[in-house]
């Protein structure tokens, strides 16, 4: 585990932000932190980045109790992100990299690599004021990853990105994971969760209401439903409930005790089966279901 969060509590004057939150974030994986607005995601992230402290509970970073020195091994892209407008791109990134404990020469050479890689070589001496929003986002991303952190925390990284930059970002996140970095990824955009995440946790009302491996969570929320494509008249089939139907397509639910093979045997007595697929619940559905259950 890169990050072990144990029984974290955080209270503000008028509300509880985190209530007994425990999470295990495995090394080298992309971990999706999901939840509606105000659920406590940002509070949790701010405690991990040591911007604020918890009221109770503890965090272990790579086996050690989390302490100040660890901030240099964390890269954090906040949801509300900005840059010094008057500074030049190069010197600004150099400053941010040095604040993360990099030596100057090392930071310059790493930054140059990133500038070449993202094809922005000519930006070094541009003032940030002159950059478009997309260009600023690239700059902010470099600032987050240049010191090669062990843990990368991205809070709503795709908000405000156009599709081209969003794709670039997705590729870079996957590339960073390949190189062994753990990514903690907070979002309420479920499509990106399905594409990127290995593990997820869902927070609602300051509590973890769902967590685990992505496939395992999806399996847990399977409703024993299957989608079929067929020719002929479906009619009524014993042990099978038709959830919805369109000409040539249907979604079926198998009743308790009926095996897949038996069910198929029953179906092909009525129609010619062209396609048979298990319905995997989308994270969007799971999200809505779990959040409304816990509200």
């Amino acid at each position: 585990m890169l990050l072990s969060i144990r029984h974290l509590e955080k209270r503000y004057a008028d509300h509880v932000a985190l209530n007994d939150v425990s999470l295990e974030i495995p090394k080298g994986k992309i971990f999706g932190l999901l939840g509606p607005n105000g659920a406590g995601k940002t509070s949790l992230i701010r405690i991990i980045t040591q911007i604020t402290g918890p009221d109770a509970g503890e965090i272990y970073f790579d086996g050690e109790r989390l302490r100040l020195a660890h901030v240099d091994q964390i890269g954090y892209l906040p949801e509300e992100r900005g840059l010094y407008k008057k500074m030049k791109v190069g010197e600004q990134l150099l400053y941010l990299a040095q604040l993360k404990g990099m030596r100057k020469e090392e930071a310059i050479s790493k930054l140059k690599e990133w500038f070449i890689r993202l094809d922005i070589k000519e930006w070094w001496n541009k003032p940030v004021d002159d950059l478009s929003k997309g260009m600023q986002q690239k700059t902010q991303f470099i600032a987050t990853v240049v010191h090669e952190p062990k843990l990368l925390i991205l809070d709503e990284p795709f908000s405000g990105f156009d599709p081209i930059n969003a794709n670039m970002l997705k590729d870079e996140i996957l590339g960073i994971k390949e190189r062994g970095t753990t990514v903690l990824f907070s979002t309420h955009r479920m499509d990106s969760v399905e594409e990127l995440c290995d593990e997820i946790a869902l927070i609602n009302h300051a509590q973890v209401v769902l967590s685990g491996n992505k496939d395992e969570v999806q399996n847990r929320y399977k409703k024993n439903q299957f989608a079929i494509r067929f020719e002929g008249e479906l009619g009524s089939i014993p042990g099978i409930e038709v959830v919805s139907t369109q000409p040539g397509h249907a979604i079926l639910r198998f009743l308790e005790g009926l095996g897949t093979n038996e069910a198929i045997a029953n179906i092909i007595q009525h129609v010619r089966l062209l396609e048979f697929k298990e319905v995997i619940p989308s994270f969007n559905d799971i999200f809505i279901q779990v959040v409304s259950e816990t509200n």
Partner: protein, 438 residues
Amino acid sequence: MNKILLVIQREYVTRVLKKSFWISSLLAPVLITAIYAIPIWLAMKEKEQKQIAIFDPSHLLKSTDLQDKELVFTFTNIPEQAYKKQFAKAGYDAFVSIPVDVLANPKGVHIYSSKNIGLTLKESVERLIQNKVRQELMFKAGISEKIYEDTQVNIDSETITVSENGGETSSSSAGAMILAGIMGLILYVTLLLYGSQVMNGVIEEKSSRIIEVIISSVKPYQLMLGKIIGVGLVGLTQFVLWIVLTIGLTQVTGKLYASKTKAFTQMTQVEHGNATDDVAKAMQDSPMGEVTKVLESTNIPLILVAFLFYFFVGYLLYSSLFAAIGSAVESATEAQQFTFIVMIPIIVSFLMAQYTMQDPDSTIAFWASMIPFTSPINMMVRLPYGVPMWELALSMGLLVCGFLACSWISARIYRVGILMYGKKATWRELSKWLFYKG
């Protein structure tokens, strides 16, 4: 620790590289040098001579009375009514008509001129006639010429400060007042100037939303302290530039004048025997001359060190409060409702300084120079007049304590404020932030 240095470096370098910094650093010494140099330059400049015609049927004035460098008098016999239309054509700048009965009717003197004559010309003509009338009246009353000469005395006293152990130094209270005023004013302006620079820097970080990135690398108090120290060092740099450039410029202009004066003296010795005296007098009379006199009689290193101390610690105190305000708001306009609270003590101490300058040993002056908020300006105003060492030490100690208290309060508001968006800050809110847990 290393990270604070990085923050200080950024705050310092980005500001020092700005054009506005260099403009203000260069402009102030040029202005001060001008204040010093212009009176001397004016004194050295060869004065334009004015031609004046005099109609004097009373025979009050003799040609020996009319020796003046700038005014050339010519007697005329054409009476007032006729000549007042002609004098300008005859090439005179002014025409003075003295009535026959001037001793009985001194108000009957008239000065005609084609253009508006300068105040100096009017005054010198008036003084000339007035002295002469007074002299004549005295002679008439039986006072001898000898007695009249003897009554012409001038008093130019020298003030001497006697220290407790009996040592004497000559001092100039006018000069001390000017020096005190200058230092008070500089502190007043710079405390406000650099304090609000810190505040605007904090607002910039918050409104541009870079703050959260930064404080995921450094602790909020490190960022606040780094910013305050960085801006403060910019201020100190500016002072050093001001002092060095002013001394340099005045030295250069002084040397320039000295070499000019030499040539000037040799050239004009015959006609203007006392030209160098004039320049020397102008040098002494110019405000900087007075200050130079005080500087000679006071402990310059002490004043300099105290000045830098009071600037820096006073600045630390106020700018930490300014930083707290900056953290609580999202724009400069929103900040206004809070800044006046911090500006009031600065303005009050500047107003008190006027009083302290008049009476530097009064009880009010004493307390004003002890209370941390008012002490920077008021102690610097008192210092040129001489202050016991224990008072200075106590005032400095109290200022340091004041700074520590203010920065503790400010740091607590700051760490909460920088992450608060959308919520309009109120005094109540700020006081609650003081007690938030980390």
